[in-house]
Symmetry: C2
Subunit: 346 residues, 2 copies
Amino acid sequence: MRRLERRPTIIDVARLAGVSKSTVARALSDGAEINPKTREAVLAAARTAGYERNHLAVGMRSGRSGMIGLVIPDIANPFWAEVARGAQDRAEEHGISLLVFSSNWDHDREARHLAALRQARVDGAIINPVADSFDDLDRFGLPFVLIGSSAERFPETSSVGSDIAQAVRLGLDNLVSRGHDMPYLLLGTKARIARARFLRAVYDHCIARDVDPAVLPTEDGDYTVEGGRAAMSRILARHPGGHISIFAANDLMALGAMLTAREQGLNCPDDVSILGFDGVPAGEFSWPGLTTIEKPARAIGRRAFDSLSEEIAGRADHSRIYLPCRLLERGSLADRAPVQRRREVA
Amino acid sequence: MRRLERRPTIIDVARLAGVSKSTVARALSDGAEINPKTREAVLAAARTAGYERNHLAVGMRSGRSGMIGLVIPDIANPFWAEVARGAQDRAEEHGISLLVFSSNWDHDREARHLAALRQARVDGAIINPVADSFDDLDRFGLPFVLIGSSAERFPETSSVGSDIAQAVRLGLDNLVSRGHDMPYLLLGTKARIARARFLRAVYDHCIARDVDPAVLPTEDGDYTVEGGRAAMSRILARHPGGHISIFAANDLMALGAMLTAREQGLNCPDDVSILGFDGVPAGEFSWPGLTTIEKPARAIGRRAFDSLSEEIAGRADHSRIYLPCRLLERGSLADRAPVQRRREVA
DNA sequence: ATGAAAGCGCTAACAT
DNA sequence: ATGTTAGCGCTTTCAT
């Protein structure tokens, strides 16, 4: 492996192997018609030359860059980081590189990122759109797969997300089986699709269980710890007394509610039961551990990659995939015998 | 903006603007000699043509792909996710795209990722090497910057990390000022550079404070929650009685130790004081909140990008940067008046 | 099964 | 200040 100034190209390899450069190209590409013996010889020559394929040139000529984009709100958010990890794992298995962009819930940044992806000539993208209109995505012009709740807005597109309806059923049924009444719903930011999906799932479940959805006590949050604390304060102020059950639309609000409850001298789970939604790592270390519904973040990333591969290959199923969530029982939910129910109004 | 089958190229723009394609190229590139008026006209033509630069072609011709690589152990780990976020933010400001790879602490995967980066013709890379030899990095052949503890092994290379010595000083001094004796040291995985750096910083600090480092009680962990639990059990078994102070080399072990202490009926911070290291989000929600030393993860990512830019530009400072950490006081450390010290042996 | 030749979209001399 | 020309490294017809 001589140290060259110039990096070796297929021409160098061709010379070394005593063949033409098209033969080298064929040896390098997978399904090409070539004599196995010549291929071996070429590959050996490539090895001794220290040759490495120039993906820029390959991409330019073949129209396949071997890269895909991932556009998520925040790579530092544990949920999205897990999604990224799943996508990256799968991409790696397929020899695909991943370009990662954080949109920061900003419409303009997202648009710029989509443009950057196009200019990088990625083969496709996995996107959690903050855009409320289809415009930017429509203009995207490349194959893509949507992830997360906002996918709901784009019915014509392949998407991968978690099964919110199943998740809410899981949570509510667990609460009921423990002898709880309908919990306070700690909702997320208004106008966010995720909020509407959560609420609709609760409503559907109520109707299926013959409960009047209108009686559901709700409180607005904004998916942050602080929002959870504030909402909890308001719940405490309005609550008539007795055990309080909370179902938060995400873990951060649940954790915030737990902090505020404790500061007010309330014990979780004896006085307050809190059920979260997401499955963030922090829920494992709170006291008590946060019982929550875990979204399959990494699996979402993996499946999104698979769906994107289909899209790129042109096998346009345009599938909408909802992955099931699972309940993580950790101790923030009280076990209330049905007999005790009366006392809770006291 | 007509809908073309073929994506417009500079030739289309040139035709539309009535100039040659080199003029278009000049209008598009930043520091080129061109009449401002023609540039405007060309840019306008590009806009109406719906032209978007092909970065693959640009990269191929100019030798600059406009992409850099980020190789970290695990994008799903909150610390590395923050680093990634910092690097991505800065990259975005400079119009650079980020290729992200998780090495999973695996030597072979890392080597494959470095090869992939070379083949993608990235302009450079930010790397946390798991490699214990310089070989792979030496062969890398592209500008790069090291991040994290392992950088210690490669003195000739630009690196960005946290100032462990300052961090340890911060923690130990705080412990002393609260009236604690030297704490049990909960160390990380043997043979990991990070472990040695931490230990050396403690020793240095001891010597500076005229304490015999040999008396330091240590316990081995492996940077995981489980490792922290196991180590805590051993500490509990060997501890003669009285208040226990723990200084863990990372937050996960600290959190594990906290869980075990509570399970053994010990109160934190009354019976056990625990000091962590990292600043993971979970520490905010434990009970009590974990007092810890926060590493400037996002800033490390940002600075790493800046250093890499220097390397790429050829301004080879080969700087070693250590960013300061800060103490996050959250309640897992007891305030022990000096007078109380005697009781701790009781 | 292999080689020759054309060209992907762009930049960088070199002319003018 | 702008145009002309020659590739960057590769894939892909089209011959042979």
